[in-house]
Amino acid sequence: MNIATRRSPILATLAYGFVALWLVVAAFPFLWTMWGSFKVEADFFSLNNWMNALWGVHTRADTGSPFTGSGYYGAWVTKEFWRAAINTGIVVFFTVIISLTFGTLGGFALARSQHRYSFWLLMIALVFRAMPHITLVSGYLLPFFQWNLWGHLSTAIIVLVAINQPFTLWMLHSFFLNIPKDLDESAMVDGCTRFQAFRHVIIPVMWPGVITTGLFSFLLAYNDFAVTATLLSQSNQTMVPKIASFLGSTYEEGKIMFAVSAVVSATAPLFVLIMFFQRQIVSGLTAGAVKG
């Protein structure tokens, strides 16, 4: 062990303690809510003692077992959360595919162009990236109402693609900068057009960057509330606005457990995503930073 990594036991204990504290703060809310989603409202929102949520006193009294799926049944079947889940699936799938198609072409062009305007495009994209989404929504609503575009899934998809473009362009641009220029230029010397070079030489080697960027497009579309809540009609709602609409009815007995179960259901895919793609997410977060 070299001296730079040698440490005093007190300091190490402090550091471990701090990290452990952070881990509890980060993970406990999710574990608690997941556990609580299998209880009845009188346990998860207990008037007497929050410990009821641990033992499930009322859940046992009401249903005979310490766990119940009634919240899930209410959300998925009674309140038709499955419809929202399908809508989310459609929106996310097409947003990611279209974002990546546009983004790889544009990002590649920006990475290979030396002209001043490509710098300006990147700067404009940065400004667009900073735009709060809801300000754009307030620009869409009136024209969309007039042209009868409001409420459709396809409208939400194309809007999410556009909102996502600045980020996608930046990320793929910095990724393509790392692919040596000689690769596609030598293909062009051999007689390929620029597009053929892109098609046959760049596409086979670009997947790590595209997958990483795709993950972030996925998260943007999946997590969005501002666009989907305002641009989709009731019947086309995706999961996140649907959950928000459950809240209006929360203070009817038991309904709040629908929202809790829906929240846990919507979080589950994200858990799986992090589990499989942790490395890509980390490298994506740092890609912009480390390269400046």
Partner: protein, 342 residues
């Protein structure tokens, strides 16, 4: 790359951004300088043996006709910007003239909804961001000391608050701080105050939202800094130790300068993201005590009585805010770019 090829490659992406980012901004500008046409009012006189009474009624048919004819409404110039729900020029001037201390002026300012939203947005941005930077670095230094096998799971858990949908994350915390939830109930017991509710007072609501903001954003700073720490060369650290630097001095004089560019990057992203704080206010149902600029716009846009011009004016003011926030970065990048070209 020749201009022509460049153009064809970038076209789809450019078109999407032009149609759905640039045009909406134009649309917002236009909407903000018009107001809905006034309702057509008809006065009818009904007479009975005891005299005549005037009745005013809204002529729904004529109103609809006018609205159909001028969908944008009538031109209003900067009227919407200066009205009571936005910059409230008249009220501010009045408050300035009539209050004798800055405190009194501030109190009057906070009665105006737009300024309240602005105050919350700025407070949130400028409190959350430094906390995120410092705590993120602290977690990164801590995780860096962990044995290798623990690092992966630690990063997995750390990513959760950031990756999970903001609305969902805030709902989860909101349910826990409910007076019937685990944190809310424990706080009541701990402070021996059975009436304590984190949702009741504006101050507590602001603190709750800020704590949520730190919880949600900390992982981003942590991951970026953690990656940066892997690039700090161990020779430099060893040299510092040989020179007698203690741990704090090593962090202060070796690690921090090394990751300074990352700090700028995190700062930039955090400013952008925190300035548009929106979902937590919905999730925490905090609109009564705290409203942000984004929420203020959303509020105008939702419900049955949509006020497009009001939302548009707030949007423009928000965009100007973003511009001011980003200006230093843009100017710096512009200088760097010119230096590189020169």
């Amino acid at each position: 790359m020749p201009h022509r090829t460049f153009f064809w490659f970038i076209l789809p992406s450019l078109l999407a951004m032009f149609l759905f980012i640039a045009m909406p901004i134009v649309s917002v500008v236009i909407q903000s300088i018009f107001v809905e046409p006034e309702q057509v009012v008809v006065t009818t006189q009904t007479c009975d043996p005891f005299g005549c009474t005037d009745q005013t009624q809204v002529d729904a048919e004529a109103t609809a006709k006018v609205r159909a004819q001028y969908p944008l409404g009538r031109f209003n110039g900067l009227g919407t910007y200066l009205d009571r729900n936005h910059l409230a020029a008249a009220d501010v001037a009045e408050a300035w003239a009539s209050s004798d201390s800055p405190g009194a002026f501030w109190a009057k300012l906070m009665n105006l909804s737009f300024y309240r939203a602005l105050a919350f947005t700025l407070t949130y941005t400028f409190v959350v961001t430094p906390f995120v930077l410092v705590l993120g670095l602290a977690v990164a230094l801590g995780v860096n000391m962990l044995p290798g096998v623990l690092k992966g799971p630690t990063i997995f858990v750390s990513l959760l608050p950031m990756i999970v949908t903001p609305l969902i994350g805030s709902l989860i915390l909101f349910w826990m701080i409910d007076s019937r939830g685990i944190i809310g109930a424990s706080l009541q017991t701990l402070l021996n105050d059975p009436g304590l509710s984190l949702k009741a007072s504006p101050t507590l609501t602001w603190i709750t939202l800020i704590i949520y903001g730190i919880w949600h954003n900390l992982p981003f700073a942590f991951i970026v800094f953690y990656a940066g720490l892997q690039t700090v060369p161990s020779e430099t650290l060893e040299a510092a130790i040989v020179d007698g630097a203690n741990r704090w001095e090593r962090v202060r004089y070796v690690v921090v300068p090394y990751i300074a560019p990352l700090v700028v990057f995190v700062l930039l992203i955090q400013f952008m993201d925190n300035f548009r704080v929106f979902e937590p206010i919905v999730g925490f149902s905090a609109q009564a005590n705290a409203s942000s600029l984004s929420y203020y716009i959303y509020n105008d846009l939702s419900g049955t009585n949509r006020q497009f011009n009001s939302a548009a004016a707030t949007s423009i003011l928000t965009i100007i805010g973003v511009g001011i926030l980003l200006a230093p970065v843009l100017i710096r990048t512009w200088r760097d770019f010119n230096r590189k070209r020169a």
